[in-house]
C-alpha cells in the first residue's frame, strides 16, 4: 500500500480546511475506519490523504424530549448501550446491534456508515423508517437533508465536496423494528433487511427495505397498505405484497431474486409484529 498522509484536525474549521486542501478523489474522511481501511487494504480506495475526525467534539448523544441527535463520530457501541435507544428506538437498537461485532462497533460510527453508504448498510433502512435527517457542515454553513435525499446510490451520497456529516437527528422515539436475513447470523452482511416504524403523532407507518443494491428504499405504498396504527393481518399481507412489487429486486452473490422476493413479506410481517410489542405502541 502506498504512503498515506493522516491529518488530525481539532476543530471543525481545521477539518473543513484540510478537506479543501486535497485534490478530489485523493482525500477521504476517516471516521471509525472500519470500512475505509478495509477498502484501502484491498486497494478499492485511492485515497492518499485521510482527514481524521477523531479529535472533533462530535461524539455526542442528546435526547431532547423524544428527539435524539447523534453526533456523527459517536461510536456505534455507545449508541447501542444507551438505555434510551434500547427502550425508545428498538429498531435503531436492533440495526446498530446487527453491525459487525463489538470490537468493530467500538470504532464504527453512524456518520461513517452514512458517508460510505454501502448498499448493504443495516443502518440506512432504519434511519429511513425513523425519518432521520442528516446535518452537513460545509464551507457555506450548515444544511439538513432527509436520509432519503442524502443517500443516492451504492456509495453515492448528496454530500458536496468539502462537506462533513456533523450529526443525525431522529425526530422522535417511535415503536420500530429492524430484521435481517443472512447466510450466517454472525458477522455477515444482510441478504435482505426490513425496517419499520410507527409515528405516534399521525399513527402512520414508514417501511424501508435494505440489503438490495444499489441502495435502501423507502416504500410508501407498503406503508400506506398498513393503514393507521395497529394493522389487521390482511393489511400486513397486502403490505408485504406491495413491498415485493415496489422495489427492484436483484440477484447478487448473496441471494437470488426469487429468495429475496419471498423474504420481503415475511420480514415485513415479523417487523410489524415486533414493533407493536414496544411499550409505546398503540393498543
Amino acid at each position: 500500500m502506498a504512503e498515506l498522509e493522516l491529518l488530525t484536525p481539532s476543530t471543525a474549521e481545521e477539518a473543513l480546511a484540510a478537506l479543501r486542501a486535497g485534490a478530489e478523489g485523493e482525500v477521504a474522511v476517516l471516521a471509525g475506519g472500519t470500512d475505509l481501511l478495509a477498502d484501502l487494504e484491498e486497494e478499492r480506495s485511492r485515497a492518499r490523504r485521510l482527514v481524521s475526525l477523531r479529535r472533533l467534539p462530535w461524539r455526542t448523544l442528546d435526547w431532547v424530549g423524544a428527539s435524539l441527535t447523534i453526533g456523527s463520530t459517536l461510536p456505534l457501541r455507545d449508541l447501542e448501550l444507551d438505555p434510551g435507544v434500547r427502550a425508545r428506538l428498538p429498531g435503531l437498537y436492533a440495526a446498530v446491534h446487527a453491525v459487525g461485532s463489538v470490537p468493530l462497533r467500538h470504532r464504527a460510527t453512524l456518520g461513517g456508515n452514512l458517508g460510505r453508504s454501502a448498499p448493504a448498510s443495516d443502518l440506512i433502512p432504519v434511519l429511513l423508517a425513523l425519518d432521520a435527517e442528516v446535518e452537513l457542515l460545509g464551507p457555506g454553513g450548515v444544511r439538513r437533508l432527509p436520509v432519503d435525499r442524502f443517500v443516492r446510490a451504492s456509495r453515492v451520497t448528496a454530500i458536496a465536496p468539502g462537506e462533513l456529516i456533523r450529526s443525525v437527528r431522529i425526530p422522535e422515539a417511535r415503536p420500530s423494528a429492524f430484521l435481517w436475513q443472512r447466510v450466517r447470523p454472525a458477522n455477515d452482511i444482510s441478504q435482505l433487511a426490513v425496517a419499520v416504524a410507527l409515528a405516534p403523532s399521525d399513527r402512520r407507518w414508514r417501511v424501508a427495505v435494505g440489503g438490495i443494491p444499489p441502495r435502501a428504499t423507502l416504500l410508501a405504498e407498503a406503508a400506506e397498505a398498513l393503514g393507521a396504527g395497529r394493522p389487521s393481518a390482511e393489511s400486513v399481507r397486502r403490505a408485504g405484497e406491495s413491498a415485493a412489487r415496489g422495489i427492484r429486486i436483484v440477484a447478487d452473490r448473496r441471494a437470488s431474486e426469487e429468495y429475496r422476493r419471498r423474504l420481503v413479506g415475511t420480514l415485513l410481517a415479523r417487523a410489524v409484529a415486533s414493533a407493536l410489542t414496544s411499550p409505546e405502541a398503540p393498543p
Binding site: 500500500m1 502506498a2 504512503e3 498515506l4 498522509e5 493522516l6 488530525t8 476517516l30 475506519g33 472500519t34 481501511l37 478495509a38 484501502l40 487494504e41 484491498e42 485521510l50 481524521s52 477523531r54 457501541r77 459487525g100 461485532s101 463489538v102 470490537p103 468493530l104 467500538h106 470504532r107 447470523p185 454472525a186 458477522n187
Partner: protein, 159 residues
Amino acid sequence: MTGRSVRLTVNGRAATVEGVPGGERLLDTLRWRLGLKGTKEGCRTGGCGACTVLVDGASTLSCLTLTHEVDGSTLTTVEAVADDPVGRAVRDAFEREGALQCGYCTPGFVMALTGLLKERGRSAPVDELLDGLQGNLCRCTGYAAIVRAVRAVAKEGSA
C-alpha cells in the same frame, strides 16, 4: 514521507514508536515494531477478530485501526492480559476448559471476552457475553470448548 513518532502505553509500559507512517495499522506496529506477536493477523479486514486488543479498555480490531489514531492511548495485548484479575480469570478458564485447538484465534477471543467483562461488568449475563463474541472466528470450529470457557467465566462472575 518518513512518518512520525507515536506515544503509547503498552501493557503498562510507556513506549514511543518512531517513524510510523500514516497508513500503518496498529496490528503491524504491535507485531513488527514492538515484537508483540501474540496479537494475530487473520483477515486484515475486520472479519475474524484474531487481532483484537484493548485500546483504553475497549476491545478494538487492531487491523482496522491506524496507529496514529491511537496516539496517547493505553493498550493491552494478550501478553499482559493476565496482569489484571478479569483477564486472568478469562485466561485461566480457557486453559482449564482446553478452549483452543490450533490456538491462532485464542488471543482474539481472550481479549474480546476480557473487554466485554470490563465494559459490562464481571456479572454480565452469559448470553450477552456469547453474543458479544460473534465477531471472533475459530477456523478449527472448536467452539464447544470456547463456549464452555465463557460459561465458566460467567458462572464465576455471578457467584
